[in-house]
Symmetry: D2
Subunit: 409 residues, 4 copies
Amino acid sequence: MERVTESGAAPPALGIGMVGYAFMGAAHSQGWRTAGRVFDLPLRPVLAAVAGRDADAVRAAARRHGWAAAETDWRALIARDDVQLVDICTPGDSHAEIAIAALEAGKHVLCEKPLANSVAEAEAMTAAAEAAAARGRIAMVGFNYRRVPALAYARGLVAEGRLGALRHVRVTYLQDWLVDPDFPLTWRLEREHAGSGALGDLGAHAVDLAQYLAGEPLVGVSALTETFVRERPLLAGAAAGLSAGPAGGTRGRVTVDDAALFTGRLASGALASFEATRMAAGRKNALRLEVNGERGSLAFDLERLNELSFHDHTEPAVTAGFRRVLVTEPGHPYLEGWWPPGHALGYEHTFAHQARDLVHAVATGTAPAPSFADGLQVQRVLAAVEESARNAAVYTPVLPSLPVSPVSR
Amino acid sequence: MERVTESGAAPPALGIGMVGYAFMGAAHSQGWRTAGRVFDLPLRPVLAAVAGRDADAVRAAARRHGWAAAETDWRALIARDDVQLVDICTPGDSHAEIAIAALEAGKHVLCEKPLANSVAEAEAMTAAAEAAAARGRIAMVGFNYRRVPALAYARGLVAEGRLGALRHVRVTYLQDWLVDPDFPLTWRLEREHAGSGALGDLGAHAVDLAQYLAGEPLVGVSALTETFVRERPLLAGAAAGLSAGPAGGTRGRVTVDDAALFTGRLASGALASFEATRMAAGRKNALRLEVNGERGSLAFDLERLNELSFHDHTEPAVTAGFRRVLVTEPGHPYLEGWWPPGHALGYEHTFAHQARDLVHAVATGTAPAPSFADGLQVQRVLAAVEESARNAAVYTPVLPSLPVSPVSR
Amino acid sequence: MERVTESGAAPPALGIGMVGYAFMGAAHSQGWRTAGRVFDLPLRPVLAAVAGRDADAVRAAARRHGWAAAETDWRALIARDDVQLVDICTPGDSHAEIAIAALEAGKHVLCEKPLANSVAEAEAMTAAAEAAAARGRIAMVGFNYRRVPALAYARGLVAEGRLGALRHVRVTYLQDWLVDPDFPLTWRLEREHAGSGALGDLGAHAVDLAQYLAGEPLVGVSALTETFVRERPLLAGAAAGLSAGPAGGTRGRVTVDDAALFTGRLASGALASFEATRMAAGRKNALRLEVNGERGSLAFDLERLNELSFHDHTEPAVTAGFRRVLVTEPGHPYLEGWWPPGHALGYEHTFAHQARDLVHAVATGTAPAPSFADGLQVQRVLAAVEESARNAAVYTPVLPSLPVSPVSR
Amino acid sequence: MERVTESGAAPPALGIGMVGYAFMGAAHSQGWRTAGRVFDLPLRPVLAAVAGRDADAVRAAARRHGWAAAETDWRALIARDDVQLVDICTPGDSHAEIAIAALEAGKHVLCEKPLANSVAEAEAMTAAAEAAAARGRIAMVGFNYRRVPALAYARGLVAEGRLGALRHVRVTYLQDWLVDPDFPLTWRLEREHAGSGALGDLGAHAVDLAQYLAGEPLVGVSALTETFVRERPLLAGAAAGLSAGPAGGTRGRVTVDDAALFTGRLASGALASFEATRMAAGRKNALRLEVNGERGSLAFDLERLNELSFHDHTEPAVTAGFRRVLVTEPGHPYLEGWWPPGHALGYEHTFAHQARDLVHAVATGTAPAPSFADGLQVQRVLAAVEESARNAAVYTPVLPSLPVSPVSR
């Protein structure tokens, strides 16, 4: 018999400190716990500490998710010696303050999307990230869907030229949890916390993926937004995220959009269309996208995330068609660590992939993708969407429009 | 042995005269030939005469499609005593002149979509139709997709309130026959004949279906359009429709859009989004739509036209989901005349259904749907789309917006 | 103006006489009426006469479906000078007598499937067909699904070697019209008329398609059959086909199978599995098949009959997958006559295709496929299935096993 | 700041010892690590030790997968005081010896499927499990697919009577990793290690699921099996599982089946059909099943494991159809611990669910499902399949046929 100590032959530790522990905190925890079990990593992620305001709740969360310590002040978490990377899983209104403080304290940062609630905040964060990069610190924004294997592989096909010049990108992100007019007024429905509604929550993913897959930014948009249910029951106490607590009889005003529709142009001249809504009855997490180019097309649906549809337009018409590629082959991105072909991955695997790539970036000192600049570019698009929606949908440039980070994996 | 004479016990004849005999003419011919074989009709359609400019070609078409006579002048066709209904299958630039002449001559009229190439023409045609209605003459526009059984049934579900208040209508109509930059410059790519490009050809169907299913008009739109391939090979001689003839080395200017993206609002406040393109590699005839309401949702894809997806949001969440209804049951619209459940119908059946309903309208003197006013409303939407596209996508009202005809079947 | 006479420049007539006018009769009528409108045929099918026992009903059917004359005795129909081809759409128990009489009278014959209710009958019919062939007469059995374009194309892929050596063929044909225990006792549930149940009705198609696609016969089978509902309400009067007439309170015995499951071996050693049932709730016409070979695979579902799934196993694994080929391209079988790509065909088109190919066979004097010998081979397989089912599923050779006809098109 | 000790407020530990660490070992490790992070468990699984013959390899596996100690002898692992539950992930030929020793040593046991390589071994194991049960020890067999949420939910629908009396169960399990004739001769292709081929590997799952969903055993079967590629390259050294090592030029004999087809009858009289193969090009992990009953039907595909298709046959035909239920709602089995609706789970989640249910069984002393008796019943079916295949497919009873365990969750 032999005692196995992970710290023995294992790679050096990378101490993680996480702020926030709701839905995103649970998903990130699973990612950090799992990445080193599945992939060969140059550093070993250690779940050092988690921070939250409620002492009992954060302690319970630490125990549930495997964090070694709990803090009630995110500043204390940043100050810890055993924390080298700060993972921010809070609502958008606190991202800028925490991220900038962590970077200035010499920590690496992973920040959930959307990067911030305003362009100004995102610009400050990006400046902080650039300053920190000069000191060897890494900052990444958590657009985790880039790390769905099917989408990472899709980007590769576009980058290789398998689609040729792009003509169309269309992305719809449809959910239905607000169809019920009695769903309560959580923080995601309040502008001061969430920044925007379906636009920032779902549209941010849609915009990032469109730009990521195309490899080029949106340069202008035209938008309609709508709030169908303008008042909702107030929550009795504090409640976070998607979980609805007991609601009293009084109602409060919804200050964000229920749905956002927008069209736009990419730098190359390709057309793009977007729809983000939480009012599509029966659609649970329907992030669907299609890209059409001169030489081929791609289609994807997050509800079937192991599949990529690929049409090769250079084939003879009689045998051409959208093929359903099961993206579970050893040669597909991230699949080296998982199961044999045909064994499905799920939603949370994207967080293990994100952790994997971030650990590599930290170990090698390379710039990660998506960077804070990518997050800023998305924020500028969202701001242009809101501006267009306020101005009778008039086409509104995204200024300045930033290049999209190359893939780091 | 007994000789069977159709004219014996059969219902009285309704003489049809068709103008044009290309793709649409072939499809209409099949509809006229078939309707009375499948449905019990109060009048018996007789394929009296077809008109076209080229004497040899029109004679060959008459023989191929079963028309008893051929004319080289549509005015002569209208003048025939054995023609009571004129079916117009020509490009859009001749619709107004032929339709108005036919109505003034006391004939019933079926006119292919889009109703016209301009709002002014469509208004004149609608006025003529209204004047003719006072004299008992019927005028219908050929939005045949209303008569796909799945879509007719879908309209019924919306009308019954199975979807509740509508939130979203989204329609994409994707084809790919212009992806090849060497596809030649046919009449469909010339503004003077076609009026517009993907917008009038595909977008007209999309707009009509959105309004038909919702039972209410679009009241405003915001649009982007694009022509990706601006010059194409000239056709050597005259060529019509989708068939590409031999192309010489010279190129001419494409004067219509390759793609049109637009968003809009329906009268009730529901949001709508549209995309019409002929540049979506791998999509052959992908008219896809989805309607989301407070109580349910519908989805449809013309490439699988026997199926309707229906989600009933009033069901318990654990057993709810989009169900694939095979719209081939005896209780579904138009299915009384066809095959047992599960036996697929195809594209051309819509023309038999159109013929069936038009014959009933003629026999009973009831107003048909879609009426010329419905065609005018679509035309106004298309005009607003083009105006918005010219004006930086600014939201452009559809004025005046007309009510949608109730279903006649 | 010019009167167009079809008989003028048109090809010479081929007089058709049809026996039976229920579901199959309606479908065949549509095929005969349509084939010459869509395809260039060397002979012009003329719907000369239809025969049935009930004088009023056959006259009404003639009028409805466009037959010029009605007969109440099939022998009189065969004797008509204006009939050169006899199309047999009656239940299986009368096929042999009519077909042999027609062939002996010098007529061409199209006989609905299954060819007969017994191997002995099928052998006699095949002998008659061979004798008639020597006199230039054509005999074809109506396995119409061979002429679904997707399946005709699938056969071509197998014949070209795109699948390599075959390993598996699996076919299920699922319907649900007998799930209701009160569905009445029609002729299809009586052994003396139908020969067998799901086996002959659905399994015959499944067996023919398996052999057709593989290009080789089944050489042995092992089978289970079952009748779940053993008594059903008697029909008040005579009723035919799938339509259930008014049922009285008394019940009669079902003398055929509700379901048949069998496995088998093809001549090459590939394995085959089959399931035919009318008790699969929710499956309306689910003829689904898959073929796996060393180099590729094919899949098909009759409920989506315009689509063929094709997997090319020689491709790199990362881009390989079942592609959905929309079998509506000009280069696909039978599509030369129909609509542009993406415009769906339906069930009844197979009858127009059958008519097209039969007319070519008659005009050129070439042996048609599927021949009566193909029908006999299917009959031998069905007999072996029934024998195996009676003998505790023991593997039962198909003796002698006949080669499958090459495709004629 | 506060140090969080899991052992403080946390539930008492349950020490796990795992034998084997290849594909199944990795999957089980992930299950044990994750279950307590996602579900509220009465005992806290502790990854105490892993055993394997190769000292270096087992130590590396321990480090990779998070096991605290490594053993090179499974007897030493069983003897450890910190191991209360032995998890057997070795090939089938060692299951009986290890499981019986562990049970006799007073340990709980989880044993991978198939339970054993022969009925005799399975009987001995079941006897040992029954004896151990009297002493409060739990024994479960690892048919993990019972714990795919969609299949657990499907079983609930059948148990509630939503399908009524069953008519048909059909299961195909298709893979393609043996299509390449140069895939090497791993232990899975050797009868002495694997017991059988596709039959035991894939067919065992298929049989267990059929019996689980139906809630009743198979009582007899008729079978064909085949080995298409009879010789394969020998592995250079020892290699396990699915991974192919370098192969020399010599070939060895494949002693198991490549494919097994069988039909059968369930105790109620319902018909069942099965197909298990590793030669279906393009099918990676296609475990597809369908159940048809008098009142409804279910369908499932493991390649889309978050979806269940459900047809309710009591609905009006016009709105009935297979609905795609996304089995990710809070009310679905196992979903209480995971993500919001629409966020996909993957293959390995089944092992966390298995761990969850096994921990509950241990804590409460209740009999687990699937029990060793369930594993024995599957083994008897597999033995009957092989016997039938040897005897010209003759229908072979499964004797004695055991009842299926009720669900424990």
